[in-house]
Point group: C2
Chain length 427, copies 2
């Protein structure tokens, strides 16, 4: 096994969203430190002429440490591309599941460092390759791989009931959803994020391949749309044309309060972990596109261009839910931002990390596109609280439909090579 690249400088995962990644060149050369991708700062530094080749090489060689207190892909600045895949375990013995988790952990370390899966032997012509090869020489591309366990993994098959965290169950049925069973649930999930889609796809493909007799891919979503975060704007837009993520969880205090699991789960393997909620949200694009800008803005509670709350003028103005215009609330109480604001939900916050998706056309020729909503929280109830409210009165419901869903317990990060996710289950 190849050891993952060590960070070039002292890097702390706790330096949340500061883009504190190690940029190690292909030859070990340090290229610099990534900018404040998601820090809310605009691209204001003076710009040196640099070639596209240089730019691409630096992006390609971006690598995040694999071992640490938390898994990557949670407080990591959002990469450009997502491949989310849920799996069912078809293996029938705990030992086989143990083998999958140990192989995956080692391969995840290799791939996030930019190495291929498995040792490459000279004179290997007669061997079936350990790695499928399409990401060869592409660099790690900021790849993170985040593993989650579905509630179903803790059923009677593998004897894991004693390890099931308190409060961990499938999400309750909620208004405004019409879930497709083929896009729902899963015993395991992998959230692969990278700045190149081929690197993210390669990772999931190779994990599926090495476990092919023991797991079956259940559903998968390819996402995009975070690329703009580092360009001319810092908040990406969803496919309705609105900025998405302006009021996202942004500091370490919020992470500890709302995202990282502590002792309360009753499971040591979850301390430093989180819960991932995945919702595939189909947008009724053609219908939305026929609405006026004024109505669209009223539905979101923000302007479409700037993304300012309708009580203010700039994107990051704090929404004033008591402000009025001509006697009426500036931000409608049933607007999207009013419904989900922590001010209106007893302080509830979640860390969103969603991606846009498009699957081409649906069966009747309409654009099949929307948002792959992903959120992390220390208890799934945080999501359920907000979603119940949205489901019952959000005016967006006319234009969206939740079609896929999953909730996963994301264990804490691994301390060092040789450890693997779920090791505690098989002691």
């Amino acid at each position: 096994m190849t050891e993952p690249t060590e960070p070039t400088a002292g890097v702390s995962r706790r330096k949340f969203f500061s883009g504190s990644a190690a940029l190690a060149g292909a030859g070990g050369m340090a290229l610099g430190v990534a900018g404040a991708l998601a820090s809310g700062a605009a691209a204001s530094a003076p710009t040196e002429p640099v070639s596209d080749v240089e730019r691409m090489a630096a992006r390609a060689n971006l690598s995040y440490p694999f071992y640490g207190e938390h898994q990557g892909g949670i407080d990591t600045p959002p990469q450009d591309h997502l491949v989310f895949t849920a799996f069912d375990v078809t293996a029938t013995s705990p030992t086989e599941l143990q083998l999958v988790l140990a192989k995956w952990s080692a391969a995840m370390a290799e791939m996030t460092s930019g190495a291929p899966v498995g040792k490459v032997e000279p004179g290997r012509e007669q061997a079936i390759p350990g790695d499928t090869g399409e990401a060869t020489d592409m660099g790690p591309q900021g790849l993170t791989l985040t593993l989650g366990f579905g509630p179903s993994l803790f059923d009677e098959r593998f004897g894991l009931a004693p390890f099931k965290p308190a409060d961990f169950a499938q999400l309750p049925a909620m208004a405004g959803e019409s879930l497709d069973p083929a896009l729902t649930g899963g015993d395991l999930c992998i959230q692969a994020c990278a700045n190149d889609p081929q690197v993210a796809y390669h990772a999931v493909r190779n994990l599926a391949r090495m476990a092919r007799t023991m797991v079956k891919t259940k559903w998968t979503v390819l996402g995009f749309g975070r690329a703009s975060a580092g360009a001319n704007q810092t908040t990406p837009r969803n496919l309705m044309g609105f900025k998405d993520g302006t009021r996202n969880v942004k500091d370490v205090v919020d992470l500890d309060a709302h995202v990282w699991v502590g002792e309360e789960a009753g499971q040591p393997w979850m301390v430093g972990g989180s819960y991932l909620v995945a919702r595939k949200i189909h947008m009724l694009i053609e219908t939305w596109d026929e609405d006026t800008i004024g109505d669209q803005q009223s539905i979101f509670g923000r302007t479409k261009g700037e993304g300012a709350p309708l009580s203010g003028t700039r994107e990051h103005d704090v929404p004033d839910f008591h402000a009025t215009v001509a006697g009426a609330p500036a931000i409608a109480p049933d607007s999207h931002i009013a419904l989900v604001a922590h001010e209106n939900n007893g302080g509830t916050k979640i860390l969103r990390r969603g991606y846009n998706f498009t699957d081409g056309l649906d069966a009747v020729g309409r654009l099949d596109a929307g948002l792959m909503f992903l959120s992390f929280q220390k208890n799934p109830i945080q999501f359920a609280t907000l979603q119940r409210k949205l489901g019952s009165s959000d005016r967006l419901n006319e234009y969206i439909r939740h079609v896929g869903s999953g909730v996963f317990a994301v264990p804490a990060g691994l301390p060092a090579a040789g450890s693997y996710y779920g090791k505690e289950f098989f002691a």
Copy 2:
């Protein structure tokens, strides 16, 4: 209508594959000239520390001129992402078709310059927006939009038979294909390529939207996999793990000889145009992944790592189809590169511009992925010649299946604002 951005420096489309794009910053500031993205040169220049924000901004602001001798997206250095869409025209009068082509031409000029579709009016709250908004502030991202006319457009519906080029017809049936009618043909096509998938998607979505009562989307493919071209390698890899495009058409002499249409088509509107062949090629990934590296290399005729022909040691070594190893040909005569080599096909060359795709899972849970093959040639017979040979003896056929297909006449570029594609048809 907004005029497209003019190039900052004198830029010629004829400076083929030299990355000669105008890089104009958001404020009009020139950032430099893009590197030799597809020129075969490695990323060898010394690297200055630059922030990710700066890198992304320069990529975001990359813009190619819209007006010129040829359409963009043919000899343009391949961008990272593709959205290919074929449309059927549902309008029934020539005037409606004329309107679609005029509206599209103007919108293509706007969007490739990074502008939204339609003029943005102040106080437009009560209006339905001209632009759907999800690419707002993202920059042009190197967007090119390439329009093609299918053979069916020249049937009796619009009276266009007199304008049909000589030798332009649907592709003949060929061995090794099992085409899905839902992924085949189309009266019109748009090839949208950009360095951000959201910008490419936005363009096709808005073209479809503005013509929604007159055209119907028939099939669409989202592609990726060119991003590596500028990073640690210059030749991207397909999903079989092999470099793809090493011997592609690379110079202006070849373009004139093999790609740009001249007087021979008998249609002035096609002089400077080309023919686009699109083939959606499904790969039997799981089967391929079980083959040995030696056999995979023998099938392609190249090494998997370096991409060298089996008669040589470096990627760009010219294949020697007469070389032998222990009395047998070093490159098998039925290997992929032997079958398609111009040396073995009377000099026939095509310009390939394909992208990898994955659509998630197929109906039986296997990876649904492959290559969206796109090629440009001055006559569709060039593609048919090579594909007939591949179909009859290519050992790759065991691992691939052509499932989608289209051929389109790509008219010459537009000279200036006010002109539109197909204008000659309605004189």
